[in-house]
């Protein structure tokens, strides 16, 4: 095996660019998936079937089609309808949307795990429905679901290389570019592999800390 430390050093500026893009995609994708997932979870619970049913069908559809297909659809089909976004924006939205259909299930489980007695106490105190959700139910539900949401963040991290196919210059994209120019694959791929492990590890440490602080 020929390992060349010079190639590693040579790759580092590209790696840094890719790392920033990966972290951006991950952070923004997480935010989108957390927020959209909560919206879906609340909408499917509405008593109005005209809302809950289409949301149920749509999210089922998104959850059961491949992320790569959705990515291509958003990147190549939307511009035909006059909607053009940067590759990164499209990628963030695709990952966020895809994972929101999973986080929605997590929220749903968290909401259902709040004991009925909490709803009853809120009724007995005559709290308005909105207030019941925002100060009683959701704070308790979210606290329960942090660990599960965290697992999806790590899944999302591992899906960010897919964004390469729509030209987002994240870590794998940078590594491939470097490899094509220099014909050296070992060093760039090893570097980004290690980077993925390190980011996953840091994310899980962060989550465990958060979990400890939230769970009471």
């Amino acid at each position: 095996m020929n390992w060349d430390w010079n190639a590693v050093v040579d790759f580092l500026p590209h790696f840094r660019d890719g790392l920033i893009v990966t972290l951006q995609a991950l952070a923004l994708g997480s935010v989108v998936s957390f927020a959209l997932g909560l919206v879906w979870a609340l909408l499917v619970r509405t008593p109005t079937r005209w809302v809950s049913w289409p949301v149920g069908v749509f999210t089922e559809f998104v959850r059961n089609t491949p992320l790569l297909v959705q990515l291509f659809f958003l990147f190549y089909v939307l511009p035909e309808w006059g909607l053009t976004f940067s590759a990164l924006t499209t990628g963030v939205f695709a990952i966020g949307l895809h994972y929101s259909t999973y986080t929605m299930q997590v929220y749903r489980a968290g909401i259902e795990a709040v004991p009925a007695g909490q709803w009853e106490a809120a009724t007995a105190l005559n709290l308005p429905l909105r207030r019941t959700w925002t100060v009683v139910i959701l704070p308790q539900a979210v606290r329960r679901v942090v660990p599960a949401l965290g697992n999806y963040v790590i899944s999302m991290l591992k899906d960010t290389p897919i964004l390469m196919v729509i030209t987002v210059p994240e870590m794998l994209g940078e590594a491939r570019l470097y490899a094509q120019e220099t014909f050296r694959f070992t060093e760039p791929l090893t570097v980004i592999g290690v980077a993925f492990i390190v980011i996953s590890y840091l994310a899980s440490v962060l989550l465990r800390t958060l979990e400890r602080r939230l769970v009471r």
Partner: protein
């Protein structure tokens, strides 16, 4: 004991006004089914303002369902329920909320909000529902906590308290809304035996020093005898006997009442 604080007198004075109309709660022809099981069967009964009424009877006889109907936690299948002359069922949601304002409830499992400190548990509804300022609500909450003997627990979370302490906070939380009617649903059933007395003593104090109408489902017959003006004996979704505690516990007329009391006393 600071049970006769101005706060409670004020809470009571609302009930005084209601006492002009003697009858506060009325169930007419109320039927409640769960699936094929008829829990309440064309039930009629009424409660006068300021009275302390205890509902006794075998489990499954519909006692708790009555409290849950009054708190609008469940709806009857038929019949009408009125509180203070206003319809609670059938009624619009808005009307329901309006009537419900006068009713408070304490639950078997306390149902405190675990994500809020004790003080916030008590102030949340007075601020959002009654529109009290935060300072007013906190002053009221501290007074109530003092009354229930937990003045030092303002900044604790419910899970840091014993069951008895949690239940006393729950009572304070219900009283902070200054209800005309207080519903007590087996409030000592989930407590360790040594914690029961503290909660019952507190309720006795409240019963003695206020004019809040109390509806109480309990298995504590001594407590029922102590605080009740009226005892209703339930069986199979019907009131089969009612009267003063002296009469019900002393010389029950109905065979089922005698059987039941024989089994629990």
């Amino acid at each position: 004991m600071s049970a006769d604080t101005p706060l409670l007198k004020e809470a009571g004075s609302r009930a005084d006004r209601a006492a002009d109309r003697a009858e506060l709660i009325r169930f007419e022809n109320v039927t409640k089914r769960f699936g094929s099981n008829t829990v309440l069967d064309r039930l009629d009964f009424s409660v006068d303002a300021g009275k302390h009424v205890t509902l006794i009877g075998p489990s499954g006889s519909g006692k708790t369902t009555i409290l849950r109907l009054l708190m609008t936690l469940t709806k009857p299948d038929e019949g009408t329920i009125t509180v203070g002359g206003q319809r609670l069922f059938p009624a619009s949601d808005k009307q329901c909320r309006e009537v419900r304002k006068n009713i408070g409830m304490v639950f078997q499992q306390f149902n405190l909000f675990p994500n809020m400190k004790v003080l916030r548990n008590i102030t949340e509804a007075p601020v959002t529902v009654l529109g009290l300022s935060k300072d007013e609500a906190e002053a009221r909450a501290r007074e109530l906590l003092d009354m229930v003997g937990l003045a030092d627990k303002c900044d604790s979370y419910p899970t840091q308290l014993s069951g008895g302490q949690q239940q006393r906070v729950a009572i304070a939380r219900a009283l902070a809304m200054r209800p005309q009617v207080l519903l007590l649903d087996e409030v000592t059933s989930a407590l360790d035996p040594e914690l029961v007395a503290g909660v019952l003593d507190l309720l006795r104090d409240i019963a003695r020093t206020t004019d809040i109408t109390m509806l109480c489902v309990t298995h504590e017959m001594n407590f029922a005898r102590d605080i009740s003006d009226q005892v209703l004996m339930f069986d199979s979704g019907q009131v089969i006997e009612s009267g003063s505690p002296e009469k019900i516990f002393g010389e029950p007329e109905h065979e089922r009442t005698r059987e039941f009391l024989g089994a629990v006393l």
